[in-house]
Amino acid sequence: MQALPPVFEKWFASKGWSIHPHQQEMLDRADAPALLLIAPTGGGKTLSGFLPTLIDLADGTHEGMHTLYISPLKALAADIKRNLTTPVEEMRLPITIDERTGDTTQTRRKRQRADPPNIFLTTPESLALLVSYEDAPRMFKGLKRVVIDEIHALAESKRGDQMMLALARLQTICPDLKRVGLSATVEDPAAIAHLMARHPDPCDILLADPGPAPDIQMLTTEEAPPWSGGGAAYAIPAVLEQVKQHNTTLIFHNTRAQAEIFFHNLWLANDESLPIGIHHGSLDREQRARVEGAMVRGDLRAIVCTGSLDLGIDWGDVDLVIQIGALKNVKRLVQRIGRANHRYNAPSKALLVPANRFEVVECVAALDAVLAGDLDGEARGPGPRDVLCQHILITACAGPFDADTLYTEVTSAGAYSNLSREAFDECLNFCATGGYALRAYDKWQRLLQRPDGLWQLRDPRSSRNIRMNIGTIQDTDTLKVRMRRNRGGKPLGEIEEGFVATLTPGDTFLIGGQIVKYEGLREMTVEVSRDAAKKPKIATFMGTKFATSMQLSDRVQQMFTQTSWPELPAHTAEWLHLQRDVSQLPQPGRLLVESFPHDGRAQTVIYGFAGRNGMQTLGLLLTKRMEEFGLNPLGFVATDYATLIWGLDPVEDPAPLFDAHALHDGLENWLAGNAVMKRTFRASATIAGLIERNTPSARKSGRQATFSSDILYDTLQRYEPDHLMLDITREEARRGLVDFGRIEEMLERVGGRIDHRKLSRVSPLSAPLMLEMGRVPVKGEAEERLLAEEAARLMETSGLAQITPPPADKPKWRVGW
């Protein structure tokens, strides 16, 4: 056992702390090539990761960078810097610490490259950027350790794949680099260890004591939650009461828009003027920093937030976590709850607030799962090739490279350990020439192979573009929001460009908890003024949409088979009884289909319980079938339980729609043309470097210079359907769209036993679907028909219909109006 050096011993003692067993073990095994620590939040995880670093650096002999810390969140990097500075200052250690994220200023970035700090804190995207510089070997010289925080969060996305490829690069520069991963409780630690290790080296897993079970309950209110909607406004008084009874409460929301609305309502009800703040990723950086500061000082009684506060940030004395809206994933629920009572060995306290009655059912199912210790998760497939393409371009930015060496390096990343040389060469060829059968770019290759065999950028200036497109997060275009005042009013945050397009001067929306009035757009900045209105037009900020895990979905389905629901609040049990009276509840071995008119459209709901991906696939297939039957479908939306399809004509008999052979036949060629595929293509083509992100300057220069990625997709589909980019798109789509097997399984289970209920109005169970986000439009005959109708109406009302188009033998149109 490695003993703590005296200065550390003394410091621990001065705090009245003793070292946790897993911290000691991390210290003992500091020389392991890779080590993964699984510990509950509040288990002193971060210190476990940094203790060996601090001890190693204590004598002041190390020059340059020693430890690289990577976290998924900018805020986390800032928080860790704060937390590390305390022991370093208190022990007077000669250690320099600095962070670099997308928010870091240019001057500081330059200084960091010239004179790297001992401990460097960053995000996967900033790391990828640093690796792309020619001087990366100099900057990372002497690097001994890398600490990956919240690796469970990174392991779920392409951000993690990109990070591991960048680490493979770093490992070549610094062969002795040791890797440490810090993870919250997950269902499959070995999968994360596989991603994290330098393949084929092993990665040991340390499991810390999971601590006491969390204290989670559903908030009961006198008022019943509404049938649908996500605002949970009904719960405001009860939530405020909880805030009063606790020191500090975190109030989590699933989307930013919901957080804004809830904060606004909470503030209106806040008669005692309790200090309450709001924090989400769309807010201006300074605003966020101010709230974070106030939080750390303990000045705030509550903070309304989204996933931007989700991960491991030490917010001091949080003693209650409230989750508004059902958390769709049990694992995430447990991790969020870990935010409360940041003390090891004390149970975390959390309240779930369902926003509507469907969510009451989900919350009860989720609580059961937590009690059963039943975490969920889905395995990820092999490393995505679009990320690999970006990595090849990043590598080229740093200087000429050898393809064999790069292949070896790439396959040392767990996710890519099974990548074939052929697949790698295809990606390299794509980066170099576009990889088209028509060799159009031999003269203008992006990468050239030199006579000595090394690959390099044809035009070194293209590295600027490549760097600007680094990253795997699919962000929508956003615009800055400012108060309109003489010049440069206060920045408030950012909103989506698509949302701005729907605004006309005078419209009001919420941002940062205040209602503002849209004044106009000036140089790509949204100008607003304060507004005294009570009711805003809602801000449609993007927000993460979690998919309910299959496991939760199964639990919910089981609940529907009960004859009564004593475990549910009365209002929700009544709702299910009402559904049974008006229509029926979905039953195992049968398929419930409801059809009813609503909102001027014919609506059909299929309760398939095949999980969101399965239901999405079913939505795509059924709308295609309905198009063939002339039912004019307009679009659909899928949840984990049901698919809602709306169109111009009602479904009279659903049975033929579900013909397995017909569904199967159309699958392959039809899959190519749908909106989901185009969306996937856009994301993958952007990551792979085929499409550039819209930079603000590019947007300023005018829309006619850029064209839609759908055009590229259609062109490739028409002229080279076997192209790598389409292959990648299909693979990525399959990650999101469950293969047809699941649907076949459902059809087999149902065996033609379809219960079709034709109703006169929305059924209780389908009401929440009406407000579900993520609607997928169907581009078919219905759209043509609607367009023709709308055009005729517009021409008629404007009076233009009388004058144009003029039949050739009638008087000509030539008078002014």
């Binding site: 576009g434 088209y436 573009n465 055009a791 233009l800 000509k812 149109w813 030539r814 109006w817």
Partner: protein, 222 residues
Amino acid sequence: MNTHRFTLSDTQLEALPSGALFWPARAMLCVSDLHLGKAERIARRGGAALPPYETRDTLTRLAADLERTQARIVLCLGDSFDDLSSARALPEEEKLWITRLQAGREWLWVEGNHDPGPVDLGGTHLAQHVDGPLVFRHVAETTQAGSVELSGHYHPKVRIALGGRTVSRPAFLYDQHRLIMPAYGTYTGGLDSRAPVFAPLLQPGACAVLTGKSAIAVPMPR
């Protein structure tokens, strides 16, 4: 084919759903902003290697329109090539294809800001073209009384809200003095008809014709 017929200054014209304009009295087909060779130019300037099939796609659609209308005159209203180098760099096969389309027809290249000089392909190169009351030029200018100007350049698009969804398509914009053509090329984007630049060019009451499956006329959204 579902075209939109209309009359400007006593001249009967047809907006085709493809984005081409047909003048039956002259058997003239007018297309604007083909931007042939755009993918090549982007790659040449260090950008991404886009699917190099946009020239053949554009020419395929043009050939279909020529077949359908039996046009004897073809007028390309500027920005036919993404730049003059890309015109020179067109693969031999595509140059031959253009030559085949030109056979037996009068072919007019009106210059645009992307292709401001002659190209080494058949046909006549012009700064602008005047025929009767119609003036064809690439970028709209102030018009003179009694004449009608036909131009391209802006790639107009029209967005229509259809109860919960929006349809956005390339479109012709016209009033009684002026017509602005949609971009015909495959790799072209568009500028919304609500953009400030269109307001002074087109009078209140102007009409827009959406391209697509059929040509659909609406009052120009502004």
